[in-house]
């Protein structure tokens, strides 16, 4: 059969259609339109979350799952360094957009896990106890944006502004908290005048959205001497960690290691250990206390001045502070401590070079040599992990509408799914609760096994 040649006018129509399709594909599905206009706190349905800095990955992805892609794309605002009050970059997030057509705003303030409980103990009307700093997306000047971004995993798009500089005047009430541990796991001290007692969370519904592991990192000049050749440290066991963090051991030589700060490749005459710790109130610290420091107490004494170069003990308010303590941050005048050791979220431990992660009791939280990289956590064999909790009030609060309650419920459901955990920047390390072979009803353990057969035994 012979095909008829296409006429010129028909070709033009097809060409025009193709061009149109190509244009639509190359352009954003929707324009940038701010859904939540002033004055603050705006009339949008609001989810104001706060607490654990480890939970920040939820805030970078879950809102994108919940907010509509049309008619307008969601907008994501992130703070830069703010001088007063001091808030380092990346701590405050705001997402605006619509959800099933309803204008919606989702805010996050990353501080410490204790806030993810404390700020919910009282009603939202309690300005003294229930309020936190949030980014004012309307009053801010941002150093970058709007940038149209696409999430590679599913093609969802959003506009992003970064380096934003203004917080909401008078703060805002917290409606949902995030905490790395249960309230009862607090009870840490450090520095000596900073005390966080165990917290009552009987007025909260606490949902374990994902399992979060932490890893230890050591400074770039902490080495093992193997026949005269200094090589990176493989790992430390729990008893060594206990001795180091309680200051029973203060020199690396006591656990068979060396440092080579003076002349790389040659062991230093002495190798004093610097500890880069989190201050009380941190979920990372509470989880360390509950899961690793079983028979010893982490030292409560040290300095909060991260601009000091001397070997010693330093307390940071955030994960970034611990990173700075380990690798330095010239912008903030913070020197590196290449003989240091610290603990950070496992996903952060691999991006803190030149400091590097080490094994705990012979295990990494994510081991690329295993068929299932997360097996050590899923099987509960890796010690240092806890459930990341999303907390909401379990009592009636006139300050929280039904729409807000529904939004929080959807957030928790979405954050808890395997699919969402896989999307997170920390997804290579975090595990959805449903994907665990084990569970803990208390952060300290014991590890309990789920029913069924599991491929855990070696």
């Amino acid at each position: 059969m012979q095909m008829k040649p296409m006429k010129l006018n028909k070709l033009a129509v097809v060409g025009g259609l193709l061009a149109g399709l190509l244009w639509m594909n190359a352009s954003p599905a929707s324009a940038q339109v701010e859904q939540c206009t002033g004055p603050q706190p705006t009339s949008c349905v609001a989810l104001n979350a706060g607490g654990s800095s480890a939970a920040t990955p939820f805030m970078t992805q879950v809102p994108l799952n919940l907010l509509d892609q049309a008619p307008n794309l969601p907008i994501h605002y992130v703070n830069g360094d703010i001088a007063s009050p001091v808030i380092t970059s990346g701590k405050l997030h705001v997402w605006t957009g619509s959800r099933a057509g309803v204008p919606t705003i989702i805010r996050y303030s990353a501080t410490g896990s204790s806030d993810g409980i404390l700020k919910l103990q009282n009603p939202t009307s309690d300005t003294a106890h229930s309020y936190m700093h949030y980014l004012d997306h309307l009053a801010s000047t941002c150093t970058s944006g709007p940038n149209l971004l696409t999430r590679a995993a599913d093609g969802k798009q959003y506009y992003e502004y970064t380096g934003c500089n203004t917080i909401v005047a008078g703060d805002l009430p917290v409606t949902m908290g995030a905490a790395d541990v249960a309230g009862s796991s607090f009870g840490q001290v450090g520095p000596i005048t900073t005390v966080v007692k165990p917290l009552d969370q009987s007025m909260l519904t606490s949902n374990q959205a994902a399992i979060v592991p932490w890893q230890f990192i050591v400074g770039e000049h902490v080495k093992k001497n193997v026949g005269g050749v200094l090589v990176p440290v493989t790992g430390l066991n729990r008893t060594e960690i206990e001795a180091i963090f309680s200051r029973n051991v203060t020199d690396w030589s006591q656990v068979g290691l060396v440092t080579d700060v003076t002349t790389p490749g040659t062991p230093d005459a002495t190798s004093p250990i610097t500890l880069c710790l989190r201050a009380a109130g941190s979920g990372s610290k509470a989880a360390l206390d509950q899961t690793v420091m079983k028979d010893a107490t982490e030292t409560p004494s040290g300095s909060t001045n991260l601009t000091l170069a001397a070997d010693g003990v330093y307390f940071g308010q955030s994960t970034q502070d611990v990173q700075d303590c380990m690798r330095g941050n010239t912008g903030l005048g913070r020197p590196a401590h290449p003989r240091g050791i610290g603990y950070v979220d496992a996903d952060v431990s691999v991006v803190t070079a030149p400091a590097y992660p080490i094994k705990l009791d012979g295990l990494f939280a994510n081991d690329a040599s295993l068929p299932d990289h997360k097996m050590n956590v899923r099987c509960g064999m890796y010690l240092y992990w806890a459930g990341e909790r999303l907390n909401v009030r379990n009592y009636s609060d006139p300050g929280i509408s039904a729409d807000q309650t529904a939004l929080m419920s959807d957030f928790v459901t979405n954050a808890s799914s395997s699919a969402t955990v896989a999307l997170l920047p920390a997804g290579a390390f975090w595990v959805a609760g449903s994907d665990m072979y084990t569970f803990k009803n208390a952060d300290a353990g014991p590890v309990q096994w789920k029913a069924g057969a599991h491929p855990c035994a070696q």
């Binding site: 030292t299 409560p300 004494s301």
Partner: protein, 246 residues
């Protein structure tokens, strides 16, 4: 019973109930305030503990000082019950300007001089110091100087230091004794692990606690004094000879 007595009892009963209600409502056990340099007595037995901050350790342990404290009989009865109670003393010191730990003060079943070389090598006060500092911080805030509480309370001595008597594993000898016993009070340096004798303490079954600073040792006559004395005798002798020869 007259009307006034009945009224008094009723008011007292309501007050007691109110106090219990408030304590229960808060869901928080009251605990003892403990600060840098305080010496704390813990007496424990019968699943009960008495925690008493007896005050700053330094003046109590001044050489030659001796101070008595009395624990009331009802408290002693609550602790003794059918079991044999034990007791311990502990305090922690740090540099207030830097927060750096300096030393731990604790009761020891052995005087410092009786520690063998092997035992000295197994003194590691860091964990006891850390535990004490954390215990003090978590306990403080209620404005109390003493408190009777269940052994299971998170703020109890044994909940924090265990029952082994080693103060969270920091000492190779028992750091507690029974009623009627004596404890040497020693200091343990946080950095060097070195220990030193500061004094002694006894606690009777009747509740009398006595804290004594190190006894004042006889002051030895320095060699200089001997030389001075013999020199003086010599000078007197020379003077006498000179006088006689005049």
């Amino acid at each position: 019973m007259n009307y006034k007595t009945k009224l008094k009892q009723t008011v007292l009963g309501i007050f007691t109930l109110a106090v219990m209600f408030v304590a229960g409502f808060n869901g928080k056990a009251l605990a003892v305030d403990i600060n840098n340099g305080d010496l704390v007595l813990a007496v424990f037995g019968n699943n009960t503990e008495f925690i008493d901050n007896i005050g700053a350790a330094t003046p109590l342990l001044t050489p030659g000082a001796s101070t008595n404290f009395t624990i009331d009989s009802s408290t002693m009865s609550a602790i003794q019950g059918t079991s044999s109670p034990a007791w311990a003393l502990i305090g922690f010191y740090y540099n207030p300007s830097t927060g750096d730990p300096t030393y731990l003060v604790a009761g020891s079943s052995q005087d410092a001089s009786a520690y063998t070389a092997a035992q000295l090598s197994q003194v590691a006060p860091q964990n006891a110091w850390n535990t004490d500092a954390v215990w003090a911080a978590l306990s403080s805030g209620d404005g109390l100087s003493s408190k009777l509480l269940p052994a299971s309370d998170p703020n109890s001595f044994t909940s924090n230091f265990g029952t082994s008597g080693t103060l969270a594993g920091s000492f190779p000898v028992s750091m507690q004794t029974g009623l009627g016993g004596t404890l040497g009070i020693i200091s343990a340096d946080y950095s060097s692990d070195a220990i030193a004798q500061l004094g002694h303490a006894t606690l009777t079954a009747g509740g009398l606690l006595t804290i004594s600073g190190n006894a004042i040792a006889p002051v030895p006559i320095p060699a200089a004094m001997v030389l001075f004395g013999t020199g003086l005798v010599g000078l007197v002798g020379v003077a006498r000879r000179n006088l006689m020869s005049v």
